[in-house]
């Protein structure tokens, strides 16, 4: 790249416009593809967008920090979107109230299962201690998972990536697995996806069914609370 092209590149990489536009384009392309294959959970638009963007950054030799400088505007909206989850939750108030006992028991069981199985499997397969610890809060929404990981002695930035991967995996394998297990109740489906795959699972559940989306959002919040309280206590007791 020389001359005017180089100038345009320098100009564009200094502002947020390019990273922001590319993020939206990559996601829209992924979403278009996802629609084309009948919303098959395996064609997750986040996976598509991440692969395209990582490839683009690697090819153009652009550091992640430069990309994030622009993409942070999209990232920021996670906060208000999390607050907005109160709306579907309120819409489903009667359903939530009716199954509150089963709901809380399922979330605590799921929270303990998620951490124990992730740690157990990684440890049995010989992962390093730092990786095992970083995996422990993998089903919890990113900011809390990073906090838990730091508290236990893991690597918070690795935990953030593992959390996103978990969300994508849960959104991909959760729905077919629930079909296989013949779980048809939208509340149980939403709850399971929300506990196992936090916000990415909730995003997927929300696109499919509002009841599932509301239960998934609730499960994400309560699972974060349960894991943040239980995991450090259990860890101290076991280690």
């Amino acid at each position: 790249m020389t001359g005017p092209l180089q100038d345009i590149w320098v100009y564009l990489s200094a502002g947020p416009l390019l990273a922001l536009t590319l993020t939206l384009l990559a996601y829209q392309a992924g979403y278009w593809l996802y629609r084309r294959v009948g919303m098959n959970p395996l064609a997750n638009p986040v996976v598509f967008a991440v692969i395209v963007l990582v490839a683009a950054l690697v090819v153009t030799d652009t550091p992640y920090e430069v990309y994030f400088e622009g993409a942070q505007f999209v990232h920021f909206l996670l906060g208000p979107a999390t607050v907005a989850l109160a709306v579907p939750l309120y819409n489903q108030l009667r359903q939530v109230r009716r199954s509150i006992g089963a709901l809380l028991a399922a979330i605590v069981a799921g929270s303990l299962t998620a951490s124990a199985s992730a740690v157990g499997i990684a440890w049995a397969l010989g992962a390093t201690e730092r990786t095992v610890i970083s995996l422990a809060p993998k089903s919890v929404t990113t900011p809390i998972a990073m906090g838990i990981s730091e508290q236990l002695g893991g690597l918070p930035s690795l935990t953030a990536v593992l959390v996103i991967l978990t969300g994508v995996i849960g959104a991909m394998i959760g729905p077919p697995l629930l079909d296989l297990l013949r779980v048809r109740d939208w509340r149980a489906r939403g709850l399971a996806i929300g506990v196992a795959a936090h916000g990415i699972g909730t995003a997927r559940a929300m696109q499919v069914n509002e009841v599932a989306g509301a239960f998934s959002g609730l499960a994400m919040g309560l699972n974060a609370l349960a894991t943040a309280i239980l995991l450090p206590l259990l860890w101290r007791w076991l280690v």
Binding site: T23, Y27, V50, Y64, Y67, F68, H75, L77, L78, G79, P80, T82, V83, A84, L85, A86, V87, P88, L89, Y90, N91, L93, R98, S99, A102, A105, G110, T113, A114, S117, I121, L125, A127, L135, K138, T141, I144, L158, V161, L162, I164, L165, T166, I173, L177, V183, D185, R187, A188, L191, A192, I193, G199, A203, M206, G213, G221, A224, L225, A228
Partner: protein, 123 residues
């Protein structure tokens, strides 16, 4: 719409303040969600404009995880060193968690069914 966007941000800000002051092990936005939920309970309904704003934000919730997801490029070498343990742990543990959570929910609901309530809408 602008008024309700401001409301969402105010709930988030209040959530952050509460977390910082009380030292809760929760992120500010989750506390903000609880605050908005409490507000809706008190008011007894969701205003039309808030309903559509929330719908718009949540329809493409997964887009908002893309920037953090691209961060995977920072840990590619660490992940490739331990790829087998990491991938098996993530896939198996996520599947087990989905199965256990749904199993406990369905099992307990079956023990105490409430009348006229099947939770199975159109799929």
């Amino acid at each position: 719409m602008l008024a309700f966007l401001t409301l969402l941000l105010c709930c988030q800000l209040a959530g952050e303040l509460i977390v910082a002051l009380v030292g809760l092990p929760l992120p500010g936005p989750v506390v903000g969600m609880a605050l908005l939920f409490a507000g809706l309970l008190v008011r007894g309904g969701v205003p039309e404009a808030l309903q559509s704003l929330a719908g718009g934000l949540l329809q493409h919730l997964s887009l908002l995880f893309v920037p953090a997801g691209v961060g995977v490029m920072l840990h590619l070498s660490l992940i490739s060193d331990e790829w087998l343990a990491i991938s098996l742990s993530l896939v198996l543990s996520t599947a087990i968690t989905v199965a256990v959570t749904a199993g406990v929910m369905v099992g307990l609901r079956r023990l105490s069914p409430s009348p006229g309530d099947d939770g199975e809408g159109d799929r």
